[in-house]
């Protein structure tokens, strides 16, 4: 097998490669003649066109079969997530550290809140209707304009002291900061099966702060409830102007110069906050350190 073992020199290999790229004897480029290349390319083009067509058809029929208003399955969104504003993330999750005496350290935080609440200004909420029933706002039909459903207004002023209207600094300056808690939207989600109102409950994380006094919180709207008339959510297409109801929590007795961990849970029948994998399901946990 001398033939198989023969070592080719580099120049021989290069020559072979050149010959492969362009073979003047047979007019072959890269092993095929030009016409063969055209043919095979045409075939592949045709093949891919047909295949793309098939794929497009499949996707099209998929889109036709799925409901435009409600997702077909919601098994993966059983319980809503909870988010916090302002949201500053450190190495492990949310952490809000600031210095009372240093404007610049909290200016960004209040700025975030102002930005966030701008979507709750009366102008932004103009399309929505006023609700005061405190009951689930069940709409079977599309009575709103453009074949949609009505959404309830939620305006920033409902947050009173934490609306940024009376106190543009949201209490950060005096060490009693406001945090806004938002529950994620889920189509057709009802927080409870009876008419119990979901509410926010913020505490120090017990295991870490046994020696602290219980956390004193002012909730806005009062009791930290999400009014039932914001539920259920009928989806983007049915309720294009829907905005999530909010709860603001103003912490009154945060010890200074100390890192504390606060957890805000949503207490409702259909909201679970004990999923070990998902730290943001039904609750939000954050570190807070106010320096003086």
């Amino acid at each position: 097998m001398a033939a198989l073992q023969e070592k080719k020199t580099c120049s021989q290999r290069m020559e072979e490669f050149r010959h492969y790229c362009w073979n003047p004897d047979t007019g072959q480029m890269l092993g095929r003649t030009l016409s063969k290349w055209v043919w095979i390319s045409l075939y592949y083009v045709a093949f891919y066109v047909v295949m793309s067509g098939l794929f497009a058809l499949a996707i099209y029929s998929l889109m036709q079969t799925i409901d435009p208003y409600t997702p077909d399955y919601q098994d993966q969104l059983k319980s809503p997530g909870v988010t916090l504003r302002p949201d500053v993330y450190g190495e492990r999750g949310l952490q809000i550290f600031y210095n009372v005496s240093d404007n610049t350290s909290w200016k960004d935080l209040t700025q975030t809140l102002h930005m966030f609440l701008s979507a709750y200004s009366p102008e932004a909420q103009e399309e929505n209707i006023n609700c005061s029933s405190g009951q689930y706002f069940i709409q079977k039909e599309f009575h709103a304009p453009n074949h949609t459903k009505f959404s309830c207004k939620f305006t920033a002023d409902m947050l009173h002291n934490c609306s940024g209207l009376t106190d543009p600094n949201f209490g950060f300056e005096e060490g009693k900061p406001c945090f806004i808690i938002k529950m994620n939207r889920i189509v057709n989600f009802l927080p409870s099966n009876n008419n119990t109102v979901p509410r926010v409950d913020c505490t120090f994380l017990e295991k870490d702060h046994k020696d602290f006094k219980p956390l004193e919180v002012d909730y806005y709207p009062s009791n930290g409830t999400f009014s039932l008339h914001y539920f259920p959510y009928y989806g983007k297409k049915a309720q294009p102007h829907y905005s999530n109801p909010l709860v603001a929590a103003k912490f009154l007795n945060i010890p200074k110069n100390k890192e504390v961990i606060i957890v805000c849970k949503i207490i409702a029948e259909n909201v679970s906050f004990d999923n070990p994998h998902d730290p943001y399901e039904g609750k939000v946990e954050f570190k807070l350190k106010i320096q003086k």
Partner: protein
Amino acid sequence: MGKEKQEIYSIAVNGTKDIERVDTERSDEGDGKEKRKRHSKKDHQKELKKDLDLDDHKLSTKELEDKYGTNIVQGLASTRVAELLAQNGPNVLTPPKESPEIIKFLKQMVGGFSSLLWAGAVLCFIAYLIEFSKDKSASMDNVYLGVVLIMVVILTGMFAYYQEAKSTNIIASFTKMIPRKAFVIRDGKKREIPAEHLVVGDIVEIKGGDQIPADIRILASQGCKVDNSSLTGESKPQSRTCHITHENPLETKNISFYSTTCLEGTATGMVINTGDRTVIGRIALLASSLGHEKTPIAIEIEHFVHIVAGVAVSIGIVFFIIAICMQYRVLDAVIFLIGIILANVPEGLVAAVTVSLSLTAKRMAKKNCLVKNLEAVETLGSTSIICSDKTGTLTQNRMTVAHLWFDKQIYQADTSENQNDQIFDQSSATWASLSKIVTLCNRAEFAPRQESVPIMKKVVMGDASEAALLKFSEVIMGDVIERRKRNRKVAEIPFNSFNKFQLSIHETEDPNDQRFLLVMKGAPERILEKCSTIMIHGQEQPLDESTAEAFQTAYMELGGLGERVLGFCHLYLPEDEFPDTYTFDVESMNFPTSDLCFVGLISLIDPPRSTVPDAVMKCRSAGIKVIMVTGDHPITAKAIARSVGIISANSETVEDIAKRLKIPVEQVNKREAKAAVVSGMELKEMSPEELDELLIYHTEIVFARTSPQQKLIIVEGCQRQDAVVAVTGDGVNDSPALKKADIGIAMGFAGSDAAKNAADMVLLDDNFSSIVTGIEEGRLIFDNLKKIIAFTLTKNIAELIPFLIFIIAGVPLPIGTMAILFIDLGTDVIPSIALAYEKAESDIMSWKPRHKKKDRLVNHQLALYSYLQIGILQSVGGFFAYFTVYAVQGFKPDRLLYLRPLWENGILNDLEDSYGQEWTKYQRKYLECTGYTAYFVAVMVQQIADVIIRKTRKNSIFQQGLFRNKYIWVGIASQIIIAVILSCGFGGIPILNFITLWVQYWFVAVPYAIVIWLYDEFRKLLIRRYPGSWWDKTMYY
């Protein structure tokens, strides 16, 4: 290296000059010298010297005693033995150098794809380190992946090593089967010791049936004959005496060589060389110094690895650059690179290929082909030339009566293995006489205690021709011994080379007939000389001109068939001259030995095995050239070649044409002759170019009277034609040729250990037709490996595309690295092995052997069809499943595009989907895993279609039969079961990223599986319909 070797061998061809220069005292063509020449060229200068010094045959007993410090009567002293044993080592051949087990093991770890996987693992650790240096709490996912990759490499390496070791062990145990003993005289006492313990100077005794335990100088001999066939290829027994008969130690009769067999008689000798220093040992060393060549399949797999690795690395690098340009972080780009490499490497393929090869090896072992090296399985399939021995391989290796001539007529005898069908005319009175002579004028006897053994299988004591005649008469007339008893022998002259006849005188069985019967057989011309009458139809007639001519014609004709012809005659001695009481004296020959009555001729031949002609036909239709290489006479060789079809009925040699046209041989156009019979002498004169020409222009070649060394030259000549050459051999001298051949085939019965060591395969029944069944298996496995690789490569694209789309279109990752590993090493392994059980699509033995440089295992058709057609189709199916899962959960395809930065943003816990719902990071991750699982299941479902379409390359699935290969269904069941277990059982293990998938998602890809199947049926239909068309050339792999 290659060049050097060539030089060495060419010296063997026309090396006479050199030999003369080196060693003028040696005369001519000694095979041994050629061997020595090679040694000298191999820088074995020292050994050469020692070789030339071998003059023990010239020494007297006294000188020998002095030289070796021994005593012929007393033997060596035990103290001296221990000393010598320590000094020279045991009397065994050093087994060929094997690389240490650990090296073999490590080789499995770094070869092929392993290096790519190592690179992947290293990248994983680098990625983790980068991440860790930035952020102490970096996730360990990359470390896990790296560890898994290393485990994959180690496990597949261990598996391949285990398979390899297992098949090697079969042979190892094979060689060790027979422990050898030797009778030795030491300290004045005779004892039996293992042959390994012999030392130089030992006095050994040998007897008929023993193998010579070392190179020995004969000191005393009683009718000792040895079979040197394993050394020289000469199968005639040679006598051994204590006298020097030749200057050349290889030719002289007072030296007998290690591993040759003593056939009869006894002898006493002195050990002059042991172990590797024996003549045989030196040849074995030479053979093992010839390096092992890469097998064709190893080259093919290497080629395939290059293709895949090339694709993996180039796509990897291109997308690494793209990712950097798209402003991904370097870390992300590295992770993409890992994914791309992982997707491209068929991790499970090595195991599947190894298992398939060993399955075939097992199947071949059942058909009497024992394969030493797994890869040799396929080499046999690509064989294009077989250089076969004659004796024992093509023939039955026993003399058999082939023709009879009496009553001026030639009769044919049955030469099949059991001979139960003797149909010639037995009614003639001449036959009665002839049969009597055959029975009586015969010294051979059946060995005792084999009453239950069929006649043809009985062991006979006596020489080959006599044994043939004995069995012949036993078959036709029944109890020969009884008949001999009835016709008591009164005198006898055994055959000798001077008389060239054998004679015996018997009483007749007829009690009324008091005459003595003189029977004689021998060389026909000598017998005829002694006759004055001839028996025709039972009547004695004077031997006239015309009868003598008829005899001559018959004799020539039978001789021309390569048969050994014997003449038979008899004479009833007149009662008056030789009464009852007459004493015959064989010394003085007091009885007539002329004017006898000629009765007939019987010719003998070593007939071909009955299965061989068929096998040769099969080879011929399979485009395999069968070349006979034999030490036998050209006429015999040609006759056997004709009868087995190596030279077909209507083809002629140059000599035949010359005879037909009645012109001198020189005037014949050599190109007209298809067949050629070349003798060793002619071969010696040939230049390599002439040999090439011979091999190219003649399709039917017989090499006769060749020495085993010339086999090597023939093999080389064949290999120069780019042929894959299989060589059969049994002698030690064959071992270099066996080693040189692409596949060396040693004989299981007749083969010497050295030959078995050098060979890649051992033929347990020594039968040529077993080679052909082996070739069939080899070809089948090549086809099936193609199918396996096509099957395995297809899904690589389906694994790769998600990464590319992920990078380019920014969708959430459709399939994770773990899922890829689970496809490659989980669901796909058993189906790919099941493809090894696939039956041939059409008559596999009607195709030409593959050209080892043109017909690649993985050609561009296979790669393109698998990668760019079926692979892409599978990806489309997978993506459809992926999009479906996301869409029904809320993320419609348009929402997914370029969503990646948000999707993977760890601090975004309210990502909106198409319906306005908001998802936390974990909820998205869970959905992503659902996507992985859905994509995984989709690929699995389409791989079911893939394994079904890969059953055939050309035929419709229905022609092949959906259920003929049950293992395919086992494979499919395994795919589904593994997928179900992964999806259900491992849903809870976070790093595996599998989610329990709802039933409806399992069927999303089914339409695509059906499309794949329909498309492939369409492809095959067009290939069958329009052979040779553009479609056929482009789509048939």
